[in-house]
Amino acid sequence: MGVNTMDQAAVTRVKEAIAERTNGALLSATQPHADTLRFVIDKTAMRAAVLALVDKLQARFLISVGTDERPLTGNFAILHLFSLDREQLYVLLESFVSEQDPKIESITEIIPGANWAEREYRDAIGVHPDGHPDPRRLLLADDWPEGMFPLRKDFPYNYQPPPSENARPQMREPPAGASVIPIGPFFPVLEEPADWRLFVEGETIVGCDTRIFYNHRGIEKLGDSVLTYNEIPYLAERICGICGFIHSTCYCQALEKAAGIDVPRRARYIRTIMLELERIHSHLLWLGIAGHIIGFDTVLMQTWRIREPVMWLCEEISGNRKTYGMNTCGGLRRDLPDQIKPRLFETLAEVEKEVIALRNAVIGDTTLHARTRGVGVLTNEWAKKICAVGPPARASGVAIDARIDHPYAAYDEVPPRIATQEAGDTWARVLVRVAELLDSIRLVREALSAMPPGPICAEIKEEIPPDRVGVSVVEAPRGEAVHFVQTGGDNRPYRWRVRAPTYPNLQAMPAMVAGANIADVPITLGSLDPCFSCTERLETVDRRTREVRVYSSAELLEMSRKKARGGGVR
């Protein structure tokens, strides 16, 4: 199953490297799939094994998975997932951690990009990464009680902790002499709540701190406690409002791999077409928003006008502009009727024409250059260290693309052309995305022409066996999405792990703004009130009595809840 040009020598090389460095701590080495190697090692040898992978084999860290396997083995399992891009291999390094001593060596010192992943398994199942440079809370809300780990199997999915007062994130203090400019938690050009605190010295950013995960919805917990295999694609599709199909495809592929389901060729082609259509409308959306952020609303209006027919195409194919609900385990629920092909080609030609016109207008715009060239530089070295993915990585000269490194769907037959740039600045990222936009149009066209007839969904006769693992990556418009599925009983995964592309890319942000010249932020901001964005309390004055009344945050919360409830009844 799957597409892979397996290189047996590479497999041997990986096995030897790990066995050599772990010095007898290697407990087992298996190959669950042709492209997946799984090593179980003693937890004391984790760093050594990771070093072997990173130093000797240039492995790229994907994500860590923390699983509560106490019902199965009596231990927690910590699994670090790596990709060997050139060899088209996934490597799983797994260690067991006992409940009595819930600690494991941190690997963030070796791989800076593992920072959040390690904090996340600590928050979720309570295994502490020993020696982590920044062990602050990441995933859980600030008012979540200590010592409660939501991804443990004995933790109910619908538990509501008691409300707490005055919870606030642990933020770093600015360096001496620097002042803080808050961007967020709510800010006009941020689509989601994210709290960035920029430390500014004169006109230069000297550092920044961030608190995100305000939107955490507990999706992984639902996946392994409430939903079944075939319900999860619809939830996965709702992980993202733009690249929903990417996540449902990625989940389905991981499960199909774990369960050994062979997806029909036609379904693979339709998946490819939908994925590329998503890239087209996502890149157009991004270009527009990027224009809007620097005040170039003409670009916003024009790109979104060009984008609209693509949305109509998606609606014609799936019934929805977004959130298509087409994916299911084993293939698709809905075919792409041949009679709409001519209209697809027609719209694509139109969109292509307009995108080329847009590209020519954008590329020659000197004011645009002034705002993007040399701005937010991500160096090639740091891009690799922080494990950046997608256009940010490719714009920094890291030639990785999940469609090429781990071919899925029909990308083996309609291969993409990878677009890279070396500069690593915002302009380079614009160029990469514009190139991908045009390549995606070509891919949809080629996939439409080459699409074979046949069934669109594999028949699944037997129950999916437990304790199988499957890893899948999908190149989303923002970069590579990773899904990991470990099958369980009860017709649902034992563990489903999702890593969105923004997860590693956001971690590159501090390095990208460090030392940046923000001539627009003057030193007068020393007068900044650090409590500016916290609505911790509100003061009101009664006009008649001149009486001052101070509402606490709890009262305000209660008032707003009352109002919300009132609105609901109406």
Binding site: P188, V189, G295, M301, T367, A370, R371, D520, T524
Partner: protein, 305 residues
């Protein structure tokens, strides 16, 4: 004597009223144009009037206090109306006197200084960034306006705006005044707060800058002041630097001037629509270059071209 004063007073009122009640219309036309280039239908051209009406009727949240602070928007609008009385708008300036050029230069900066002060008086960090950006823009643009007008004064050998206009009408175009006019036009883009120079407001960066804490009637007055300002400055540009054709009859001249003002504002809007926002350092560098180039106007004036 008294009759003369009353006449001047009435003419001042007329200019102020024109600035007040025509500026939303010009803003509406500019919005419509922007919408056209965006492939949008856009709001009706009367929309700015409705915006003002709506804002005037809304609650003033008064998030930052102080009586002087509260009065600032009205003073800002007042300063622009005073400028309108000093500037010829289709006819001679009502408040014309020997040396009024100096007064015009001072009054022209008042609104920017006031908006800057509003920013600094506000408790919001975004407003103080906006205030400081406003200040930097003022410092970059003001010399250009001064050089351009002084070129006119040098050519006409008078410090009265009316005298410069008369000289222009009699002597026709000259190289120095053409250069000065172009420099003034480039500065107008920043004076009007239009892209690529709207960084003092920059919604996406600092959420409106100085205006972030303004609401209701106060916001209405500030918006109104900005619209009136761009209109008055467009009149100033057209009257001083491009006064031809001069018909000598009041109505024909008024019509010609208004059409030219419309053309100027349309150009301002087209530049606005096809540009992203510059960073403040880039804008300052740009105006530095414009300022140095505009010195050429003075040089040409000295050699009599």
């Amino acid at each position: 004597m008294t009759a003369g004063l009353i006449k001047i007073f009435l003419l001042c009122l007329l200019n102020a009223a024109a600035a007040l009640f025509l500026s939303p219309l010009f803003e509406g036309i500019m919005r419509k144009l922007r919408a056209g280039i965006h492939s949008r239908i856009g709001p009706p051209i009367t929309q700015p009037y409705w915006d003002l009406l709506k804002l005037l009727g809304k609650e003033d949240l008064g998030s930052t206090g102080g009586a002087v602070y509260a009065a600032m928007p009205a003073i800002t609008l007042g300063s622009v109306l005073l400028l309108a009385a000093l500037v010829p708008m289709g006819g001679p300036a009502p408040l014309a006197f020997a040396g009024d050029l100096i007064v015009v230069l001072y009054v022209a900066t008042m609104s920017s200084v006031l908006i800057m002060l509003i920013g600094f008086a506000s408790a919001s960090p975004y407003a103080s960034i906006g205030g400081s950006r406003e200040m930097m823009m003022l410092l970059s643009v003001e010399p250009i306006l001064a050089i351009a007008l002084v070129t006119g004064a040098f050519k006409a050998k008078t410090l009265a705006l009316g005298g410069i206009v008369d000289w222009q009408v009699q002597n026709g175009p000259s190289i120095s005044m053409a250069i000065a006019g172009v420099a003034f036009f480039l500065a107008l883009q920043a004076v009007a707060g239009k892209l690529p120079f709207d960084m003092a407001e920059a919604d996406q960066e600092i959420m409106g800058g100085s205006l972030v804490e303004q609401s209701g009637p106060r916001l209405a007055l500030l918006r109104w002041a900005m619209w009136a300002k761009q209109l008055v400055f467009a009149f100033l540009l057209v009257e001083v630097f491009f006064p031809w054709p001069h018909f000598g009859t009041y109505l024909a001249d008024l019509l010609a001037t208004t059409v030219k003002v419309l053309v100027v504002l349309v150009l301002v809007m087209v530049i606005d629509v096809v540009n992203p926002r510059l960073r403040i350092d880039q804008a300052m560098g740009y105006f530095m270059r414009v300022g140095v180039s505009s010195l050429a106007a003075l040089a040409f004036a000295v050699i009599g071209k």
